[in-house]
């Protein structure tokens, strides 16, 4: 084995990001590393590239135990990395990028001609015909990606880690990149390929390792693996272990329509989709990471504007060109990255709850302090937010309680359509159940909710209808008793079966 990892463990305060993970990479192999958000993929990679120091376990390269302390040390050992966001300098020339740190010098000065020749030699065999004296920024992302690979190969030459390299490439560019990778494989390079595009994993890789919650679930030969099993591994459900008891007894109940999206889409984000939202309905949005779930939500909330289609309610078309317009139309959106996008961590619970309401009323009509406090106390009681009082700083609360503050803020505005992106990520089981109960409660009052979640159990428990998203398309719609782990997983995995179910 070229690279072996044995019982690698890495703990962060509060979480165990990697728990005794084993991983092998052979020379001349492309090995896919898969897992949902938070599964431990990036932690594993960062331990390999020296960005993190491991807590326990062993990494050996060519039989030698290694513990790189920095990216450059990892490079010298032979472990190179290419990231999705190309880590080269677009403002330098291709030649400067390729030779950076090892520029040929003459009389102590960089020898431009030798530098260009060296760069051209490094690019040989990659099928690129480019002028290396031009700025890297003049070339497409695909070319930059290949330049980055060429640099990593020349610098390291044993193990190449490709972290989501195809995320911003079109299909022709992906093929070029794969051609390069196959060639390197034939030359005996070991490659770790991280991607959430399963098609690419199946067409390119030799073996697959799936991580979930910091543990290794399985390593299998790609050829022996089928899609459904792979997705089960990733999402952590087996079809036998299906969760019974779809709670929603009221499915099939006629609902009056609240909103309708027609042909709503944006190029490069999500294909146009049709969606009708009933009053008091809970819609679930299922799909793998990067499939277009969040993109759908952002489009509906005006974070990105739609290129096609329209949104309508009973009284006509709605303007969703910006979040501001969406809020004015009675929409709400609690984003996935609540720390970055959802709360103002330095403000108190009271201020956070009052924030959105104030924005809606306009700055000219301030909400009085006493009203803010009343509002905050009301929601602290109603949502059972564990805090020392309305004036505690939100940043000091636990994840679950922060999430409740986000919810409280939107509930205080009483939107008619609320989008929750991964509302239960990173919160404990108790808070989890409470948030689901809360969703149930507010929909009884007539609010409509769209829940995006990777937890299929959660969707099954809470949703009246589940939309399945794959490859940036809405591919299936499941209602009532059709909503089972099995149907969802099948819809995510296989086009035909998914569309049958719809």
């Amino acid at each position: 084995m070229l690279l072996t990892i044995r019982s690698l463990t890495k703990t962060f305060p509060g979480t165990r990001a990697l728990d005794g993970v084993d991983f092998d990479l052979a020379a001349g192999e492309i090995h896919a590393l898969l897992g949902e958000n938070g599964a431990g993929k990036s932690t594993l990679i960062k331990c390999l590239t020296g960005a993190y120091a491991r807590d326990a376990g062993k990494i050996s390269l060519d039989g030698q135990t290694v513990s790189p302390k920095s990216t450059s040390e990892a490079q010298e050992l032979g472990i190179g990395t290419v990231y999705q966001e190309v880590n080269l300098l677009a403002n330098l020339t291709v030649a400067q990028n390729l030779t950076f740190g090892r520029e040929p010098t003459r009389f102590g000065m960089v020898d431009g001609r030798a530098q260009r020749q060296q760069a051209e030699a490094m690019l040989e065999g990659y099928g690129l015909d480019i002028d290396v004296s031009r700025d890297l920024s003049t070339y497409s992302v695909a070319v930059r990606q290949i330049v980055a690979i060429a640099r990593a190969v020349a610098l390291s030459g044993k193990v190449l880690i490709l972290d989501e390299p195809t995320a911003s490439l079109d299909s022709r560019e992906v093929e070029t990149l794969f051609g390069v990778m196959r060639k390197l494989r034939d030359q005996g390079m070991g490659m770790i390929f991280v991607s959430h595009f399963l098609d690419q994993v199946f067409s390119l890789t030799d073996r697959v390792t799936v991580l979930r919650n910091g543990r290794k679930i399985t390593t299998e030969r790609t050829a022996d693996l089928d899609r459904v099993r792979l997705i089960e591994h990733m999402l952590g459900h087996t079809l036998e272990n299906e969760v019974a008891g779809h709670r929603k007894a009221d499915h099939g109940l006629p609902r009056s329509e609240l909103l309708r999206f027609e042909d709503f889409g944006r190029r490069g984000h999500i294909e146009p989709f049709n969606l009708s939202v009933g009053e008091g309905e809970v819609l679930g949005l299922a799909g793998l990471l990067g499939s277009g779930r969040t993109e759908s939500a952002e489009l509906m909330f005006g974070v990105a504007s739609a290129h096609s289609g329209s949104a309508q309610d009973k009284s006509g078309a709605i303007d969703l060109s910006s979040p501001r317009a969406a809020i004015a139309a009675g929409f709400g959106f609690a984003p996935e990255e609540r720390k970055a996008d959802g709360i103002v961590a330095d403000l108190s619970v009271r201020e956070n709850i009052a924030l959105a309401m104030q924005a809606r009323r306009g700055w000219a009509r301030p909400i009085s302090r006493s009203e803010q406090t009343r509002l905050a106390q009301d929601y602290i009681a109603r949502l059972d937010i564990r805090t020392s009082g309305p004036d505690q700083v939100v940043g000091d609360l636990s994840g679950g309680n922060q999430q409740k503050v986000v919810l409280a803020r939107w509930l205080a505005m009483n939107p008619r359509f609320l989008i929750l992106d991964e509302p239960t990520r990173g919160i404990d089981v108790g808070a989890h159940a409470e948030i689901l109960r809360l969703i149930d409660e507010v929909t009884k009052e007539g609010m409509s909710i769209l829940v995006i979640s990777s937890e299929l159990d959660e969707l099954i428990a809470v949703a009246n209808r589940v939309i399945v998203v794959r490859d940036r398309r809405h591919v299936a719609e499941l209602t009532g008793s059709e909503i089972t782990t099995e149907t969802i997983v099948r819809a995510i995995a296989a086009p035909e079966q998914g569309e049958d179910a719809a």
Binding site: T71, L88, L89, Q96, D135, S140
Partner: protein, 321 residues
């Protein structure tokens, strides 16, 4: 032509056009006397602008240089008046001081992860204050060596004087060009300007490079101070107020991206000369108020920023296609 040269080409074109306009109106402006004066009058600005170019290429800014030049003048004049040391010794002392001052600012910027704007703003007040502590008056320099320096020039054909300080400026530009574009240090500077995180990943020693960048700028400010003291034969704590901004303007007119990562030291020289040319034109004209210099520089600066924006947009469009 390689697209990376467009801003530099634009700078040179503007300078040539400006000169042609000047010559059409006042044919005498083609003489070597005007050229010599242009170099001499702008020598200190050219030198300090070379340091500023390196700083701006790295994505930073150095607001302290104007005050450092004033401090240098006062330091030299007071030392020569009170100590009896030879000017060359004083120069060496001064350069050590200003280089260390720059290095200290670079160290603070790196270790405290503070914006260069704030740190060098503090440096600006500090240097100015130090100059006032030495003296509050204008101190004349009467040393014989200064006379020698002032009289050192080469008479060009056409009676133009290529002075020593003009030559020092041209040499500084040459050194700056080599440092920025032909050394590993220069590559690191441009890498920092392209993005610190990426530069770190590519193996740039960020801390050492940052310290060296501001030390270089401090050295250049000290050298500019020496040249300025030769030019004025005095030291005055209120001198060169706002010179840092003029230097930044010269760098930007010279085609360097104010956000860092792209630009040429040679462009800065052209930027300095363009500004000097406008000044000369106004002197020749005689009826225009000198404030017109500022107005024209303002317009030039604005048009350069627009040009850079336009070029950047063009290059991103080219990428999509």
């Amino acid at each position: 032509m390689n697209p990376r040269l467009y801003p530099l080409a634009a700078t040179i074109a503007i300078f040539l056009v400006a000169w042609v306009i000047c010559v059409l109106q006042f044919p005498y402006m083609l003489s070597t006397r005007v050229v010599g004066n242009l170099l001499t009058d702008n020598a200190y600005l050219g030198i300090v602008a070379v340091g500023m170019t390196i700083v701006i290429l790295s994505g930073g800014i150095d607001l302290s240089v104007g005050s450092v030049i004033a401090f240098a003048g006062v330091f030299i004049s007071v030392m020569l008046r009170d100590s009896g040391l030879h000017p060359l010794v004083v120069f060496a002392l001064l350069l050590v001081l200003t280089t260390a001052f720059g290095a200290a600012m670079g160290w603070l910027i790196h270790t405290l992860a503070m914006p260069p704007f704030i740190v060098t703003l503090a440096g600006m007040f500090l240097a100015r204050g130090l100059a006032y502590m030495l003296t509050i008056d204008s101190v004349p320099i009467n040393h014989g060596f200064y006379k020698f320096l002032n009289d050192a020039y080469w008479l060009m054909p056409g009676k133009g004087r290529l002075t020593l300080i003009g030559v020092v400026m041209l040499l500084t530009v040459a050194v700056g060009m080599v440092v920025a574009h032909r050394t590993k240090f220069g590559a690191s500077v441009l890498a920092l300007g392209g993005g610190e995180a990426t530069a770190r990943l590519m193996g740039v020693r960020v801390g050492a490079t940052t310290v060296a960048i501001y030390a270089f700028s401090g050295f250049m400010a000290g050298l500019a101070g020496i040249v300025f003291s030769i030019y004025t034969s005095s030291g005055y704590p209120l001198a060169t107020v706002g010179t840092e901004l003029t230097a930044i303007a010269a760098v930007v007119i010279g085609g360097t991206l104010l956000t860092g990562g792209a630009g040429f030291v040679f462009g800065t020289l052209i930027g300095v000369l363009t500004m000097g040319l406008i000044q000369t034109f106004i002197v020749f004209d005689g009826t225009l108020s000198s404030w017109w210099t500022k107005i024209i520089i303002g317009i030039l600066l604005l048009s350069f920023i627009l040009l850079q924006k336009g070029l950047m947009r063009l290059s991103t469009v080219g990428q999509r296609a």
